[in-house]
Structures are given as C-alpha cells and as structure tokens.
C-alpha cells in the first residue's frame, strides 16, 4: 500500500521536474538536493498511516464536494413532504433489515438526508477552503510587511492584530456574521456576475442569493478572525530570519525588498505555515458549521450541515436522531481528514522527524 502511494507521489514529483526543466534546462541539476528532499518527504508520508488515512478522507471529501450537487437525485429546494406526508422525518432504511426506502432517512421537509449531505459537503468544503485561502495569505502578507519593514508600519499592523486577537474568536465571528448579511446582499445585487459565480461555486440556485449573502457573511466574519494568527507567526519568523547574514548579503547586491521577501524569507516560513493551514481547514469547516448551527448562516432551503443539525434539534432525539448522527459524522470525518493530514505533514516536514521515520523504515526492511 505504502509502495503504491510512494510511487504515485514520486511520479508526480518527476512530472513536476520535467515541466520545470522545459522552461529552465538546468533546473533539475541545480535543485537536485531539493528534489531528493521532496522524494524523502513523499517516502516519509507514504509510511505514516495517519497521513494515508487523512489523505484518503480528504480525497473522498473533495470528490464528494465536486460531484455532489451533480449526482444528488433530489433538488434541495424540493419540499417532498407537501405531496407525500409519509416522508416526514422517515428513519433510515438500511439493508439488510429494510430496503427500498431512503438510505439515511428524510428530514422534516421530506428530503433524502443522503442527497442533502452531498450538497452540504460541497458548501462546507468550499467555505473552509475559501476562508483559509483568503485569510492565510492576507495574514502572511501583512506579517511579511510588518516584520520586514519594521518601525511605524510594524507597530500599526501589530496593534491592529493585537486588537483582533484580544477578541475571542467565535464571539468576533458571531458579531460580524450578524451585521454583515444585509450589506453583502446589497453588494451581490449590484454585482450579478460575482453573485452567479459564487452561487455556482457553492452549488446553489440563483433564487438563493439571499442565503448566499448569509453564507458569505459567515465567510467574511471567519476571514476576519483568521488572518491575525498568520500575521503574528509570519512576523515572528521574519524578525528572526531578517537578522541572518544571507539577507544582508542579498540586500547588499541590490535585491529589491519584494524579491527578498518572496524568494528568501518566505521559504523559511513555508513548512509550519502549510501545516497550520491544513489544521485550519478542519477548524474552518467546524467553525462555519457552528455559526450555521447558531442560525447565522444560510437558512432554508439551503442544506448546510450545521444548520440541518440545528433544525433537527427540535425533534431530537426520538424523531431526528438520524439527521444528527449522519450529518454530524460527515462533519466529523471532514475535519478528521484534515487534522490527520496536518498531523502527518507536521512530522514529514520537520527534517528531524523525517530522518527518524527514514531510519526506522530502513531498519525494518533489514530485519526482513
């Protein structure tokens, strides 16, 4: 199993190398030790069961998210219970004891829970990706600038960061998510192209643009909560790297600030940032679901996972336990996948633990 994964990853690395060589013929020779490190990372990763399971879960989540809305056999807007009252909160129909009914049961609108999960995964996946992919770079950028420039710029940025960090995260997110929807709705009405793009991204119909506003306010609120930590971490690393001699050397040969930041300082910060971002993808998924649970995200008919669970609370536990169990488990698995992946990446990207994994594996091989 590990062999196949390692071979896959090694092939991907080789492919990347080939592409780079096309643009720069000497690239593979100049970076041979780096390529070797990558292959070692791939090897270490393929040998860590936590990483493989995590990667697997993330892969399933991604696939479900991408194809989910397309393969869902029911639209989330269809209130089936109106035609067929029988479908109200039907319990799951799992083989072998039952057959022919909705596999995971239905909710109070008569909608098939499994179909709704397909929509829900898309929403959770997209929103957590957007939160981290907007929030982290924002924070990283500010951290780089603050750390490198120093002086007044640094002070100002750090004071602002401190203000945000002093606020407890969830509370800050709640506060912003409450006040933003109307303004975002106005923005969406004025910019229909962006609106349509976002609707497609989340797998929603045009009618739901009001809910989209709520969704986006959750997104924005969490981005606001997210960036300070990255700014601080990056700034700290920049401060320590900045004093090192090779930066002075770079400056003395006239490299521009920008270039120094991107090509020399950033790579040093990269590993812990990647690990942080992976863990944050799990946290973002959970926090956005939590905000929806509290009623701040999209409302009916959008089947956001946290929101579905919150609605199920009314009839809990006798009639709606299946919604809580299944939607909850899906959320758990999404977050779990990212967390496992992050944990494994942390070991893989740290050179010391990486060596330890390599040595251990070689020893095991020898014993055979």
């Amino acid at each position: 199993m590990s062999e196949t994964i390692y071979n896959l990853l090694a092939k991907a690395i080789d492919l990347y190398v080939k592409i780079r060589v096309k643009f720069d013929p000497e690239w593979d020779i100049k970076n041979s030790s780096r390529i070797r490190e990558w292959k070692l990372m791939a090897y270490a990763f393929s040998r860590s069961p936590i990483g493989i399971v995590g990667g697997f879960l993330v892969l399933i989540t991604a696939i479900t998210a991408i194809i989910g809305p397309s393969i869902a056999w029911q639209g989330y807007w269809e209130y089936k219970v109106v035609e067929n009252p029988d479908l109200w909160l039907k319990p799951p129909c799992l083989p072998p004891s039952c057959s022919g009914g909705p596999l995971l049961g239905t909710d109070e609108w008569g909608r098939d829970v499994l179909a709704m999960i397909f929509y829900g995964v898309r929403i959770s996946f997209v929103i957590s990706l957007l939160i981290v992919l907007i929030g982290a770079p924002l924070g990283i950028l500010l951290g780089l600038i603050a750390g490198y420039k120093g002086g007044v710029v640094d002070e100002v940025i750090m004071r602002i960061t401190d203000m945000f960090v002093a606020f407890p995260g969830l509370v800050l997110a709640i506060a912003f998510a409450t006040v933003l929807p109307q303004r975002i709705r106005g923005f969406l009405e004025a910019n229909t192209q962006i609106r349509d793009f976002l609707l497609w991204l989340f797998g929603l119909r045009p009618q739901e643009y009001g809910q989209l506003a709520a969704l986006l306010s959750v997104l924005l609120a969490l981005v606001i909560v997210w960036w300070p930590i990255y700014a601080r971490t990056v700034r700290g690393t920049v401060l320590s790297v900045r004093e090192q001699v090779f930066i002075e050397a770079a400056r003395s040969i006239g490299l521009s600030t920008w270039r120094i930041l991107i090509r020399h300082i950033l790579p040093n910060v990269l590993s812990p940032i990647i690990v942080m971002m992976t863990f944050d993808l799990a946290t973002a998924a959970l926090l956005s679901a939590s905000l929806s649970f509290l009623g701040l995200g999209p409302q009916d008919p959008v089947p956001e996972l946290g929101f579905m669970i919150s609605k199920a609370g009314q009839y809990f536990p006798e009639r709606s336990w299946h919604i809580v169990v299944f939607d909850g488990t899906v959320l758990l698995l999404i977050a779990f996948g990212w967390n496992l992946l992050g944990d494994s990446l942390r070991d893989v990207l740290d050179p010391r633990t990486r060596r330890a994994i390599e040595v251990r594996a070689k020893a095991k091989k020898k014993k055979r």
Binding site: F167, G169, L170, T178, L294, L296
Partner: protein, 353 residues
Amino acid sequence: MSLLKFVARRALTFIPTIIGVMLITYVIAYLIPTDPVRAWVGGEKLLNPEALEQVRAKYKFDAPWYEQFSFLITQLFTGQLEDPVRLKLVVQELGLRFPITVELAIFGFVFIVIIGIPLGIIAALKKDTPVDFFVRFFALFGSSMPSFVLYYFLILALFVYTHTTYLAGVPLPSEACRATLASMPSRIPVLGHLAYYLGAVPMFGGAFCGEWDVIVETVKRFYLPGLALGLLSGGFIARLVRNSLLDALSSEYILFAKARGLPKWWVWRHALKNALVPVVTILGLQFGGLLCGAIIAETVFNIPGMGRYIYESIMRLNFPAIIAGTFIFAFVYVTVNFVVDILYALIDPRIRY
C-alpha cells in the same frame, strides 16, 4: 519586587487592549443594518407607527453613527442599556446569567484537567506504546468533533439508557441564602464583597449557606456538558502535557538531579513543575475559550447563561444586546488572559523581566 513591576507593566497594556476591543465593537456597531426595529416591535402586522418612532428615537437610529455608538457605549457603561426585546436592563440579565456561564466553565475546566493531565502523564511515561497512540488519536478526534454534535451524541446516549433528556433550569440557593449573601458586603467590609461575588455563582452560594442539595443538583445538571467539554479539549491538553513532560524529563537538570542522588519523587517534582509551566498558560487560555464555547453548549443543553443570551439575541436581531454581550465576552476574555499572564509570572521566574 520585580513581580509587582511585571504586574504593573502588564496592567498598562490592559487598557489599550480594552480600547482596541471597544474599537472593534465600534466597527461592528457601525455595520448594523438599518431598521432592525421592525423585528423588535413585532413584525409587520403589529406595526404601530408611533411605537416604531418611539423605539427609533430611544435608540437614536435616526442620528449619525457616531452618536449611536457613543450612546450605546455610555449606556452600557452606566448600566442603563435596556434590551429592546426583553425589555430588561442588560446589566440585570448579565448579573443573573453570567454566574451560570461561569459555573458551566468551571465544570468544563475541571473535566479538561481531570481527563487531560493524567492522560498526558501516562502517555509520556509509556511513550510509543498503544496508550501513547491512543492519546494522539484522542487529541485529533477531539479537535475534529463538532461540539454541538458531541453534545447531541451524549444526550442521545443518556436518553437511550435512562430516558431522561432535558433537565430544565439551574439549581439556585434559597431566597434566604441569597438575601444573606446580598447583605455580606455591608456586614464585613472586604471579605463580605468577596463572598457576595463568589456566592453569585449558584454552586458556591449554596455551599456558603450549607445548602448541599444545591450542589448535588448542580452536579447532576452540569456533569454532562462538563464531560462533553472535557472530551473535546482533553485530548489536546493530554498531548501538550505529554510533549512538555518528555521535554522536561530529557533535560540536563533532571540528569543533574539524578546525579545528585535526589530521591525519585524529588526528581519527578522538578520534571513536573517545569512541564506544567507551559500547560498552565494554555489551560488559562482554555478557560477563557470555555466562556465563549459556552455559547453552543448553552444552546444545546438549554442552560440560561450569557451564551444563550447571545444566541437568543441573534435570533431576534437584538443588536444592542448582541453588542453588549459581545463586548462583555471580550472584556472577560481579556481579563482572563491578563490573570493568566500574572499566574505565569508567578510560576516561572524567568519571565519577570
């Protein structure tokens, strides 16, 4: 001496932080959408134009945003801010609900410590054995589990076994007891005030008057949410304790302690104290986080604390209440962080500079 200097210096940063928090609350308040008043006054049908105007004027919705904000803030600080939906003073609600949230946080904290620290120590001692892997798994699991899902799972389990679902209300000490507590500040100067504030937490109030059934009932009510909170964060703390303890055990001063012929327990004391220093800071932050995580727990477990107050205010678009509640949470969080920093300086002499 230097500890006092440290406290003084740290206190100096407290003020700007609070100002920063106010500024952010300011920004949030600025973004309040126009006309939530309709929702307050009861929807379209009950629309009484006069009532609408009255409420509008009262909350200065027709005035420019800075007047609105300063109005909100002065009202908040002078304790006069009134909740437009509940028609009660925010301060009153705060006085009633906040101690309950504190109670919940205490239970959660106790469980986190009971679960996290022993597990962490065991994992360190049995490094790389199944126990160690279990702790790692437990930590990852706890941080992947959505809190509200775990709460429902636990309630489900409780239901399956005992058929009791929701416990209503929070056990409070008797009227007589509360009257006694209220009179404490006037009877004994400093200690009396302390007794009054501590006694506001129902559990402690009951203990003060010797009303043990209050405590028993409180435990019955709160052990489940407390356990849930413990399960969510316990793994993380366990892992932290494990790593911290392993670091401490492999350090030179432990070797030196052994080389000096100190008895085993003395050597352990050195390792534990050093290991727990970073843990204490994190635990303190956790307590601050518990106060906020309470929002979801109180909603699911039906506990009438500050968290639920915010939740209900969200449902009704009750912006003054939301702003007030948010600010109070932030204030408490900043205070907890401040206390944690002081505690850290007490334990670790190195950072007093």
